[in-house]
């Protein structure tokens, strides 16, 4: 590529209407958030998000505030996060949130209002994705933080010391980061699935299988697994026993920054494919 071509591309990039696109994306996010953040239809997603926190709370009350050691509860929390949140809660929650963004509007026959607006479809898709991300992140980040607080709160001063003077805060930061990456990664994939097929559920189950077996895949294929990246960011290793061993991913260790970058790159790659797909998407409600 010549210097002139690079300069021309740079000029073209700068001349794009970024400010307009940002305004339109913000409008889509506001609109979608207002319409979908709290709906009865999405109640099952709230259940998925907050069920562990409720169980931890009930356990705390039922056991009359007699607790095991902090280290044991740290392992319990790690297991809840890895085996429930990461594998089930966030996975299916994102399926419910992101698959609805486009497909849901096609089923309800209201997508054409967006397509008839003076907004590039790629910009619309990014806006929709961010709206889904806002909802998923609000729900699952809050749920994970709540579970964390409920887990250590009953320990009183010891719990406080573990969180603020020990490894607690660092672990919480890791959980929050992994939750965010999982929401974005699975969200992008389910958004794409919803544009490629009428019912994304079977494909989601196949993805679930893919994520489960990602540890035994060749390194090249592991690059296409969200779980394979997130594994390296988990703060507490849970010893796999019995049936849980099936759910455990053992991958080659990689630096944390690489894992974060890898997950984000995979998400971005899926979004690029989604942008291509949304450009060619047609409104044919009669076939829905």
């Amino acid at each position: 590529m010549t210097r002139e071509q690079v300069a021309s591309m740079r000029k073209s990039f700068i001349e794009q209407p970024w400010r307009l696109w940002a305004t339109q994306i913000a409008a889509v996010v506001r609109l979608e958030t207002r319409r979908n953040l709290f709906t009865w239809r999405g109640a099952w997603v709230y259940f998925l998000a907050f069920a562990p926190a409720v169980i931890i709370f009930i356990h705390a009350v039922a056991s009359n505030l007699r607790f095991e050691t902090i280290s044991e509860d740290t392992n319990v929390l790690a297991a809840i996060f890895q085996f429930y949140y990461l594998r089930l809660g966030i996975f299916f929650g994102c399926l419910g949130i992101f698959a609805r963004l486009i497909r849901g509007e096609m089923i309800e026959r209201s997508l054409h209002y967006y397509f008839l607006s003076p907004i590039r479809r790629e910009v619309l898709l990014v806006g929709k994705f961010l709206a889904g991300a806002v909802r998923a992140l609000l729900l699952f980040e809050f749920a994970v933080v709540l579970s964390f607080v409920l887990m250590y709160l009953p320990f009183g001063a010891a719990g406080s010391q573990y969180v603020f003077d020990g490894p607690g805060l660092s672990q919480l930061f890791s959980y929050v980061t992994v939750t965010a990456l999982a929401c974005l990664g699975y969200g992008a994939i389910f958004l794409l699935f919803s544009m490629l097929m009428k019912n994304p559920a079977p494909a989601a189950l196949m993805l679930m299988g893919w994520e489960f077996i990602s540890s035994v895949l060749p390194p090249l294929l592991q690059k296409f697994s969200i779980a394979a990246y997130l594994k390296h960011l988990l703060p507490v290793a849970v010893p796999a026993q019995g049936i849980f061993a099936l759910l455990t991913v053992n991958t080659e260790p990689i630096p944390q920054w690489f894992a974060v970058l890898g997950a984000l790159m995979l998400t971005a790659g899926v979004l690029v494919v989604s942008c291509w797909r949304v450009r060619t998407l047609e409104i044919s409600y009669t076939t829905e």
Binding site: L116, S117, P118, Y285
Partner: protein, 313 residues
């Protein structure tokens, strides 16, 4: 940039089902009516025009723009579709205002344009109510408001009179006429032929996915040469006129009007008919009060070309 809507050999197939086939059309500004029975391809043509679907073959442009240039295109185009569905839980006001916010304009301007559009379709009193509680006519109106709110230069209306009461119909037609006079493109599909006939500058007749005739209604009628044209002549002594006209080879029917003050004539050569009529008048055989085509409207053309009653399609 030109001011035409152009279809160049456009075909659309849904799998093996034909939507429209080999449509080549050029629509100038003004009011254009798409007329045809159900399944004739009117909605497909409109969806193609607005980029909701893509042509299987051929190309099209609206005032030189393509739907893929979304920002320029949809600022110029408003489309009131036939889909009677709305996002859940929105009021009429929110529905229109939200659409405007997607243009990237400020809230204040969006509110101003929303108010203007809502008032224009006479829906101000119900604007803050949930659309789910609207009657069919109100839903039609709010969709129309959404389509015109951003002041488009091309307005595409798919069956816009469906569900409207006679008063609202008349108001809508007056609005379309006003927009057409302002130099806008107004493309309307409707089954109510008498109404679109009255306001249309041109008509596109479709059946089975094909355009079978297009142009000014009177021109289209003239083109249908193989079908006799019916003319009502109001005159004194209509029986004399009938007998004289019957002398012509191309006159296939002459029938006295019920009130006895006119005669319906059917002729296959309207030009020759008018020459003879002039002669009859100048000879002072009958005194003519008025002459009017009795079937020079879309409905009659429709029946001739498609072989069914447009009003029942």
């Amino acid at each position: 940039m030109n001011d035409r809507i152009e279809f160049n050999d456009v075909s659309k197939f849904y799998g093996e089902v034909l939507g429209v086939n080999r449509v080549t059309l050029t629509l100038p500004p003004g009011i254009t009516s798409l007329v045809g029975p159900n399944g004739s391809g009117k909605t497909t043509l409109m969806n193609l025009m607005t980029g909701l679907i893509r042509p299987t073959k051929g190309s099209l442009s609206v005032m030189g723009m393509l739907p893929s240039s979304a920002y320029e295109f949809f600022r110029a185009v408003g489309y009131c579709t036939q889909f009677d569905y709305f996002p859940r839980g929105v009021s009429g006001w929110d529905f229109v205002c939200d659409s405007l916010l997607l243009h990237g304009i400020g809230k204040q301007q969006a509110r101003q344009l929303t108010e203007e559009a809502i008032n224009r379709v006479d829906l101000a009193q119900a604007a803050k109510r949930d659309v789910a509680g609207y009657s069919k006519g109100m839903r039609q109106k709010v969709r129309l408001a959404q389509a015109i709110a951003h002041h488009p230069t091309v307005l595409v209306l798919d069956e816009p009179l469906n569900g409207l009461d006679p008063m609202a119909r008349a108001e809508s037609l007056a609005l379309f006429q006003e927009l057409g006079k302002q130099g806008m493109h107004v493309v309307i599909s409707s089954h109510i032929l008498e109404e679109v006939d009255r306001i249309s500058d041109r008509v596109v007749l479709m059946t089975g996915g094909y355009v079978i005739a297009e142009g000014d209604i009177h021109q289209v009628r003239q083109e249908v040469r193989d079908k006799p044209m019916q003319i009502l002549v109001r005159c004194g002594r209509p029986e004399v006129l009938a007998s004289r006209i019957f002398e012509l080879d191309h006159c296939v029917e002459a029938r006295l009007h019920n009130d006895g003050a006119g005669v319906f004539l059917r002729t296959q050569d309207v030009d020759q008919f008018y020459i003879l009529l002039n002669k009859i008048v100048t000879d002072g055989i009958v005194q003519i009060e008025s002459i009017m085509p009795a079937d020079d409207d879309a409905n009659a053309i429709y029946q001739y070309l498609i072989g069914s009653d447009g009003g029942q399609a």
